[in-house]
Amino acid sequence: MDDLVSFLTQLISLSGLSGYESPVREVLSTRWRPIVDELSISKLGSLHGLKRASDGKPQGKIMLAAHMDAIGLMVSGYSENLLRVTSVGGIDPRILPGQMVTVHGKENLPGIAILQPDRLVNEAHREKCPALERIFIDTGLSESELKETVEVGSLVSFATPPTHMEGGYIAGHSLDNRASLAALTLCLEGLKNTKLSWDVWAVATVQEEETLGGALTSAFEIEPDLALVVDVTFGKGPGATDHRAFPLGKGVTIGVGSNVHPSLEKRLKALADEEKIPYATEILPASSGTDAITLQVSRSGVPCEVIGLPLRYMHTPVEEVALADIESAGRLMAKFISSLNANTMTEIRKEMLEW
């Protein structure tokens, strides 16, 4: 548990915005190198960790996907001593005023996302909702200093420090989806002494928040027979109270719906029951909003399942998750992988005729 806390703390201290994931890839590479047989990097930057079948004769290939990119901001221009920004990924501008950020110019600069003061905005905008056009980044530098250091296109990431809460909860930015990368890593470590019939491809995907292109291209390259996607889902709490949200610390979610495969749902639930891993069913009537969207339709189609980690305040710098749920996800994936054998695909194809 201590190790999980420190690893996750490290992961959410990194930037790694969509399209610029290298800081996360480097940390993951170091962590994965001793626990996989091969590490490679896809053409778009996703990290592939291959753990080979124990006898070198894989009966199938499973891909485990968790995206490593984060939402943030990008410099779009200057306004005297301030920077204008646009968003990378989905950000509600109303959470931006007063956030500490890091501007990744020629050097990293601390800055504040500011709401233009009411006395300086047009009358119609006073006391109104913070819109992105009235939000700027202030680094405290003068206009000339700023132009020497920061360019249009420079990235701006949240600088909210990781916060450890009583009872095994952690808050911070980018827990979507670094929490899932921690779960994926736990899974790989959990397979250390397991006899594997299948090749296991752990993939930290890029660009989920923008294009879903990382999972799409890695699935093409790897050609998996099955895939598990681990991503965050809505945590029950302020602002999220209906059936779409799940309590923190009470287990993972297992998806049901068109984006996932019923055979995998059935198997994961059976394993979770057997291993007493707590879970809830998350209905995905159309789309899961995860890498499974592109994974499912890669090449001639890939049966997928989505494992969800409940997370409060998604896409804010104060996202919150339960460590216990991360451990559950890691354990469930490892159990599933160890259950794969030479007959799995035949069985799944057979089951498909019975839906």
Partner: protein, 356 residues
């Protein structure tokens, strides 16, 4: 020639400690303890009054007869929160203490209670927003402080933003520069007190909710004159319409802002002139805060007893009453020196001519 005081690592570390303390109006204990600890070996007398103000006296030395009694004031309190009620496990309703624009609340880390229990003020995920919801401000009464499902607080517990102090070159970032920068300034001034005057330093409570502490401190001290040292907003930023910004109030890097007139005080012109003269003689840059609204503890001090000639000096700071203010180290150093040289040079004479 007396050397200027310098802001070095020691002073910065003290400011950092002061800024990271949680001391919301009515609950200033953490800062109070730092002030007392810092000054116990330098002051002639330290008392804590009925309100919680720390009243520090440094007597005139070398047999000065009937020394001029100069009051310095800086407020210890900051804006923040008070826990109202537990709604469900670890989720609390809260009220704001002091003036915080509700648009500054969403998505922040906070610290609650004596143990600085960490918490967050989260918001509904963007994915779950109803149509047009993004176009309406998030109302404070819809927000909650979340200490995590296992976190505990009691109604009445105080909290503040959790932003950690950060120095980057000449820039200082903190939740509580208003007015820990004044508190740090006064601590330096007591440590470097001149011998010619009776220095009366009030580290005041409850400024943010109505200047209550300074009011009673001024009564107790009954000073001949007073200087309030505070943080004042700098709006030295571009306007939305692109026109010249004529309402900047003051500017970062422009030196200490001397108050002429605000919503509560018409500064004593004799003191203003003396400050300007002192600044010029000592090559300290300064600026006038644009006359207008706002105010400092001088608003009560100058009306204490039979009246106290008063003036305010502030360190410019952008984004007051939000999770993070931005000030400049050089402005702080210049503010410190302006008051330092003023104290050394000031005599009863300047009050002998009637106020203009």
């Amino acid at each position: 020639m007396v050397n200027k005081l310098k802001i070095e690592q020691k002073q910065l570390s003290l400011l950092e400690k002061l800024c990271n303390a949680v001391a919301v109006s009515g609950n200033e204990g953490e800062v109070r303890r730092i002030v007392i600890e810092e000054l116990k070996d330098f002051a002639d007398e330290i008392t804590v009054d009925a309100m919680g103000n720390v009243l520090v006296r440094h007597h005139a030395k070398n047999g000065t007869v009937d020394p001029l009694k100069v009051m310095l004031d800086a407020h210890m309190d900051e804006v923040g929160f008070m826990i109202a009620a537990e709604e469900e496990e670890g989720i609390y309703t809260f009220e704001v203490v002091g003036g915080i624009d509700p648009r500054q609340l969403p998505g922040k880390l906070v610290l609650v209670g004596k143990d600085h229990t960490p918490g967050v003020i989260g918001t509904k995920p963007i994915h779950l927003l109803e149509e047009k919801e993004e176009d309406s401000p998030i109302a404070q009464n819809t927000l909650r402080i979340d200490l995590g499902p296992a976190g505990k607080a009691k109604p009445g517990d105080y909290g503040s933003f959790a932003t950690r102090f950060l120095r980057s070159g000449n820039n200082l970032f903190s939740k509580a520069i208003d007015d820990r920068i004044g508190v740090a300034t006064l601590i330096e001034l007591v440590k470097n007190a001149p011998e010619n005057i009776e220095l009366l330093a009030s580290f005041s409570v409850q400024e943010e909710i109505g200047l209550r502490g300074a009011r009673v401190a001024a009564y107790t001290f009954a000073p001949d004159l007073a200087i309030a040292v505070d943080s004042t907003p700098a709006f030295d930023l571009p306007r939305e319409d692109g026109n010249e910004n004529a309402v900047y109030n003051c500017r970062l890097g422009g030196g200490p802002a001397i108050y002429l007139a605000d919503a509560g005080t018409l500064s004593d012109p004799r003191l203003i002139q003396f400050l300007c003269k002192t600044a010029e003689q000592n090559s300290i840059i300064y600026q006038f805060r644009q006359p207008g609204g706002g105010g400092t503890n001088a608003g009560w001090i100058h009306r204490s007893r039979a009246g106290v000639p008063s003036v305010s000096i502030s360190v410019p700071g952008r984004y007051a009453h939000t999770a993070v203010l931005l000030s400049r180290l050089e402005d702080w150093e210049n503010a410190l020196n302006l008051v330092y040289f003023t104290l050394r040079g000031i005599t009863r004479e300047i009050l002998e001519t009637p106020r203009g």
